[in-house]
Amino acid sequence: MLETSREDFKKEIKNSFGGELLDLLEKGINPVKQSNNRQTEYSESYKKQIEGKLMFFKKGGKLIAIEELSKKELKSFRASKSASEQNAKNSKFLAYSKQQFKDKKVRPVNLKLTGALHESLKIDITRDNPYVEFSDPKAIYHNDVGVGPKKTKRRLLPTGSGEEFTLRLFQKIKNALQKAIKKNI
């Protein structure tokens, strides 16, 4: 590929393909071709956190959701705190939750809280092939490892053998290539 075509392809693919990929992710649409075209919904506990309905406290240095305590543990937790202490802790958590999740909604499942994951999208061309990456460390967990006890995957990129981008994204790559070549003929 000519150097000028390569540069045009890079520019074009960043704008059209990159824009489309982020747009689909923002809307909770799975960019990887498979039978489920939508991202798997968030876990019940995460949904409650987003809605400010779930309280956590520290137990052995680990954050535990109050709902995860057994009845006995809950009784002992309540007994160990005065009502005012519990209320103060509740308000502090709710304020924290409200701040942390202020722009976050339960739907769509857009994998966006701070925006760092989406902003880490990098698109380049190596040896005439487009190269797409999310450099944020969370990406590999969402995409390949899975998160939470159920190891739920929410896909960002096709990384498995035989996997492909959904056709709309594939067409963006193809159109970008055609446009770049046409421009330089």
Partner: protein, 164 residues
């Protein structure tokens, strides 16, 4: 087919004779994936995927304030179950896009018809066409996309056959 138990739209395009059944099924799956992604994309922005409809009716202020932080864009996404249930089913002759889950089909039926026959919502909720009926088509952009997929897929098969 728009009923209380299943809601789907079938696309049965004319395909070149030289495609065998397996190739036709692959092509229909490609079309299904493309149409469903495009539909979800339009619905997320409050647009109908049905030709001639345009934007879906805005949510009432009262409902939007209560359920959507005041956002009146009807993205069909409250719990998300209805959109999650949308699927496509392809064979060698066509592809159906819709929902076959009873609980979701009745919801889709309600939205499309404006809750026709519902005890207290009939006539009170604006119809929101989230899927074309038998007599309707998908928007031109989706139709054009389908034509391109067929053209390119068929050309690819033809080339391979000639090389082989």
């Amino acid at each position: 087919m728009i009923s209380k138990t299943e809601v789907w739209k079938e696309i049965r395009p004319e395909l070149p004779d030289y495609l065998d059944d397996s190739e036709r099924t692959d092509l229909m799956n490609e079309i299904g994936d493309y149409v469903l992604t495009s539909m979800l994309d339009l619905l997320a922005d409050g647009h109908s995927p049905v030709e001639g409809v345009g934007d879906l009716s805005k949510l009432t202020t009262k409902y939007a304030d209560a359920q959507k932080d005041g956002d009146r864009t009807p993205n069909m996404e409250l719990g998300g179950d209805l959109l999650d249930s949308l699927k496509y089913e392809a064979d060698a002759y066509g592809v159906k896009i819709g929902t076959w889950e009873e609980g979701q089909a009745i919801k889709a039926y309600g939205h499309i018809t404006g809750f026709k026959g519902h005890k207290w919502l009939d006539g009170k909720v604006a119809p929101r066409k989230i899927l074309p009926s038998d007599k309707e088509r998908f928007v031109q952009d989706i139709q054009d996309g389908i034509d391109t997929i067929i053209e390119e897929f068929s050309a690819g098969v033809k080339d391979n056959n000639q090389v082989g």
